[in-house]
């Protein structure tokens, strides 16, 4: 059973509840990317360095969490089938991994958040398939779905062929047609999925998105809302630093969805998080996924807020409200003041903090949307970008055009 209910709106931002079987997710939500399988064995939570430490947070390993419960950071997580072979594993191990669904392993049996299994289109198509130490597997839509289903996911998405800003027109059309064909095949196997099926669309502006939707509709035997439970907007990662493009893409995708009557479906933005998130929520995005919290930690960066990072040794834990930073155990870890710490232990706590910062912003945003006052949303956005010189014009533009014009047409009389 899958449902998505919008419980409050403020301007174009919406707060929703995504219900999949007996799990519920409050949106807007960020799915942190988790590599459940990192080459290791079950005793080591299948390994993966910092990835492993993050899994230990998710799986309540008290030695890593310091006894605190951090499950609120992981109400819904994203994992990609392309990451299965990241660590050069042998085919036998891959088969062993896929023998059990994620929650069937003892170590993850308590995990009750949603698992979004991505097809990993970008990486798989770039590599030409899934490649391990002693195997190479061509991946098509059917094979991708088989692997996704083997993970025991709550949400699955079709294998897509992401476009790139530098693609020639013909190249882009070919990719879109391939994605559309995959979507059609994916829809045929809809009944095998005990959860939500998301459809990927691609494009940076309205005409491109219109084509993406058209090609998919032409391939499908039934209307999109009957075959799919959500829309996932992809191909934005190469433009992740251009917030103007991101806002245009999400907002044009919403417009297409409205015009085609799928506005009740949740909209997921693939691979994007961080500073663009508030603006994308303000134009109607519901969920996000990203590994940026982890990559920042791996690069030694501690998030001060959605916009700024500092090297870990310059972090001021006192000015952070997150539970990680207010726990002496994690402070000691992040400062490398405990004995026998591995880098993954230090960086794992930093990653948890970085994720907490992003989740905190979305939590604030959910509360604001619940108040239903778009002006409060505008105030929040203004405050968030207050000191971000290069970024704030995009936020102001969005507020001015879509929430509350700064200079009303009638506001011209002088005192």
């Amino acid at each position: 059973m899958v449902s998505f209910d919008v419980v409050a709106e403020a301007g174009e931002a919406r707060r929703g509840q995504l219900q999949i079987n007996d799990r519920t997710l409050e949106t807007p939500h960020l799915f942190p990317v988790i590599n459940f399988y990192g080459g290791g064995n079950e005793g080591a939570l299948f390994g993966g360095g910092v990835h492993r430490t993050v899994k230990e947070f998710l799986a309540h390993d008290n030695e890593v969490t310091g006894g605190e419960d951090y499950s609120d950071l992981f109400h819904g997580v994203m994992t990609s089938i392309s990451s299965l072979a990241d660590y050069g594993i042998r085919e036998k191990k891959l088969e062993w991994y896929l023998n059990n669904e994620i929650r069937e392993w003892d170590c993850f049996s308590d995990y009750d958040g949603m698992i979004f299994a991505d097809s990993g289109g970008y990486k798989i198509l770039k590599q030409g398939g899934l490649e391990g130490k002693d195997f190479e597997k061509d991946i098509d839509q059917d094979k991708a779905l088989d692997i996704q289903l083997a993970l025991g996911p709550d949400i699955v998405v079709n294998l897509d062929h992401p476009i790139h800003p530098d693609d020639e027109f013909e190249e882009r059309i070919e990719k879109m047609e391939q994605t559309a064909a995959n979507a059609a095949r994916f829809a045929e196997r809809r009944d095998e999925v005990d959860g939500a099926c998301y459809l990927t669309v691609h494009g940076y502006y309205e005409a491109m998105l219109e084509r993406s939707f058209d090609l998919i509709e032409d391939e499908l035997a039934e209307p999109i809302p009957e075959a799919f439970d959500g829309i996932a907007l992809g191909s934005l990662v190469p433009r992740k630093d251009n917030v103007e493009v991101l806002v245009e893409a999400v907002s044009d995708c919403k417009r297409e969805m409205q015009q085609r009557g799928y506005d009740e479906l949740p909209l997921h933005v693939l691979g994007i998080s961080g500073n663009a998130m508030p603006l994308l929520v303000a134009v109607g995005a519901d969920t996000f996924d990203s590994a940026s919290y982890l990559h920042q930690a791996i690069n030694g960066k501690y998030c001060v807020n959605l916009f700024e990072t500092v090297p870990i040794d310059e972090a001021n834990f006192d000015s952070c409200e997150c539970r990680v930073c207010n726990d002496d155990f994690h402070r000691a870890r992040m400062r490398n003041e405990m004995e026998d710490l591995y880098q993954k232990d230090i960086l794992g706590s930093v990653a948890a903090h970085n994720l907490a910062v992003q989740q905190r912003e979305l939590r604030k945003f959910r509360q604001l949307i619940a108040e239903g006052d778009k002006e409060r949303v505008a105030e929040y956005l203004e405050e968030a970008v207050k000191d971000q010189k290069g970024f704030r014009k995009f936020a102001y533009q969005l507020i001015n055009e879509r929430i509350n014009p700064y200079f009303e047409e009638t506001d011209t009389t002088y005192a």
Binding site: K386, D387, K389, R392, K393, Y396, Q397, N400, E401, P405, Y406, F407, D411, T412, T413, Y414, A415
Partner: protein, 510 residues
């Protein structure tokens, strides 16, 4: 033992009086003083006698001066005006640059007449000038009249340079006469201003009559017509921006302004070039001091904007031309908030449309100019009787024409890269050749381009044969070179030179 530091009073007077650079600052100081005295009318008269001596007469209907006020008027740094423009007690010292100062003022039934003789001469003679005081009872209403005789103001008061237009623009741009206070404060009071110049200075018009309100050019948000963007103008209504400092203090910035095209801006009484006048002005007492155009950001051109941002927390230099507390947190907070405010203005949909319209009109102008250029080109083509290549694309066209019209060999362009040394790959009867296509062969050698990869030259004309002959006289890129135009080849190299054929099209294509 304790010692008290001494002040050289004469030097200080000279220093402060000399700090005023623009002689018109005397008008600014007079207007500020009258405004501080709650005057509703101030009249300024400037005369010049035959010897070129200036006399300034300033009269206002303000609350006048008592003996203490008069002391402040003549003293240095002894203002009794706490919350006024002239709180420093520096401004009136500009009058010291004169031969005589006469003050006649009425306050609360007492008239005081005061005279200071030769203030500037005495100061320069290391002597502190004194002033007389004569008091009488009167039933006149309060007023003040100040006469400054022989004002030594330098070239600014030169009759050749002093005009009504110049003074009027100065008043509106640099003094309380160009105040934006009327948009904001409840305690604003209107003050009418007249300025009269003697006919020896400017007899071209009647006296200036204005008041202390700066008015923006009329709004013209969406004019009709084809090329009208320069006339467009929008007012941005007054806003009070509040900023909290780290120490808990709150600053208020009062900002008001307009955006407009050149024609709209020309309706303002500017005092200088547009590039030096427009943008974002920081102001104190609603009098503009310095611009802070960084607030507009690199994406936008500052001269479309005319905003005045007033903050009473700004600290000014003695002559009010500069902001002194730029390194402090107050200035930082003001400019940060202005950055934010102006970013919002730049996102305003009218502004975006204005910029779009400007671009569109620029394109239209460019098309018009192209049309006239096109006309000239057609005329030139007719005159020369057809194509005469002046660029490599036209050489290609000629080559195609040559091949299609019974040439001994069929040469086709297989590939073309405009800026490469081998700019063309030719398909000559199925064989690929690296070629250099040139309008004139001589151009190639003027650029000293290497010949290493060139199998053939195709040119419209050989060009400057003298310059080619000159090239032959010394090694070209280290090797001997010969142009053999009998055989239509270039021989390049020492003992066994390479032979590079040259196809000159002009002779072969009619």
């Amino acid at each position: 033992m304790h010692k008290t530091p001494q002040v050289n009073e004469v030097n200080e007077f000279i220093e402060i009086a000399s700090d005023f650079e623009d002689p018109l600052e005397v008008i600014r100081e007079a207007l500020s003083n009258s405004y501080d005295a709650d005057a509703t009318q101030v009249d300024i008269n400037i005369e010049q006698d035959e010897e070129g001596r200036n006399t300034l007469v300033i009269e206002d209907d303000g609350h006048g001066m008592d003996e203490d006020d008069l002391s402040s008027f003549f003293d240095l740094g002894n203002s009794n005006k706490d919350d006024a423009i002239g709180y420093k007690g520096h401004g009136t010292k500009i009058y010291y640059k004169s031969d005589e100062i006469r003050v006649e003022t009425v306050k609360d039934g007492t008239r005081i007449e005061s005279v200071m003789n030769q203030p500037w001469a005495k100061l320069n003679n290391r002597e502190l000038p004194t002033y007389s005081i004569e008091k009488t009872d009167t039933d006149e209403p309060s007023r003040t009249r100040i006469e400054v005789h022989g004002f030594r103001a330098g070239q600014g008061f030169d009759p050749q340079k002093l005009t009504y237009n110049k003074i009027e623009h100065y008043i509106k741009w640099k003094t309380i006469g160009g105040s934006t206070a009327w948009h904001f404060t409840d305690d604003f009071h209107r003050m009418d201003i007249t300025v009269e110049l003697s006919s020896t200075i400017d007899d071209t018009r009647d006296q200036i009559q204005t008041d202390n309100r700066l008015e923006f050019s009329p709004e013209n948000r969406d004019p009709d017509g084809e090329l009208v963007a320069e006339m467009m103008c929008k007012h941005y209504p007054p806003r009070e921006l509040t900023v909290a400092l780290d120490d808990g203090r709150e600053l208020t910035i009062e900002v008001v302004g307009m955006v407009g095209g050149k024609e709209a801006r020309n309706e303002l009484p500017t005092y200088g070039k547009h590039s030096a006048q427009f943008g974002i002005w920081l102001a104190k007492d609603h009098i503009k001091v310095e611009r802070y155009n960084d607030a507009i950001g690199a994406d936008n051109e500052f001269f479309h904007f005319f905003f005045v941002a007033n903050c009473q927390e700004l600290e000014l230099s003695a002559n009010r031309e500069k902001i002194r507390n730029k390194s402090g947190d107050v200035y930082q907070a003001i400019t940060d908030e202005l950055d934010r405010f102006m970013t919002k203005v730049c996102q305003d949909s009218w502004y975006q449309k204005y910029i779009e319209r400007r671009k569109l009109e620029d394109k239209k102008r460019s098309i018009r100019s192209q049309e006239s250029t096109l006309e000239e080109r057609r005329q030139r083509t007719e005159e020369q009787g057809g194509l005469s290549p002046s660029n490599s694309a036209e050489v290609i066209a000629m080559l195609e024409r040559y091949s299609a019209n019974g040439a001994p060999e069929t040469i086709k362009i297989a590939d073309f890269q405009m800026d490469d040394e081998v700019n063309a790959i030719l398909d000559t009867e199925g064989e690929l050749e690296n070629a250099s296509l040139q309008v004139k062969l001589s151009d190639f050698f003027e650029d000293e381009t290497p010949l290493n990869h060139i199998d053939r030259f195709v040119c419209w004309k050989l060009g400057d044969l003298d310059s080619l002959s000159q090239v032959e006289r010394s090694p070209y890129m280290g090797k001997p070179i010969r142009f053999d135009f009998q055989e239509n080849v270039i021989r390049y190299g020492g003992e066994n030179p390479r032979t590079i054929p040259v196809l000159e099209l002009a002779e072969k294509v009619s």
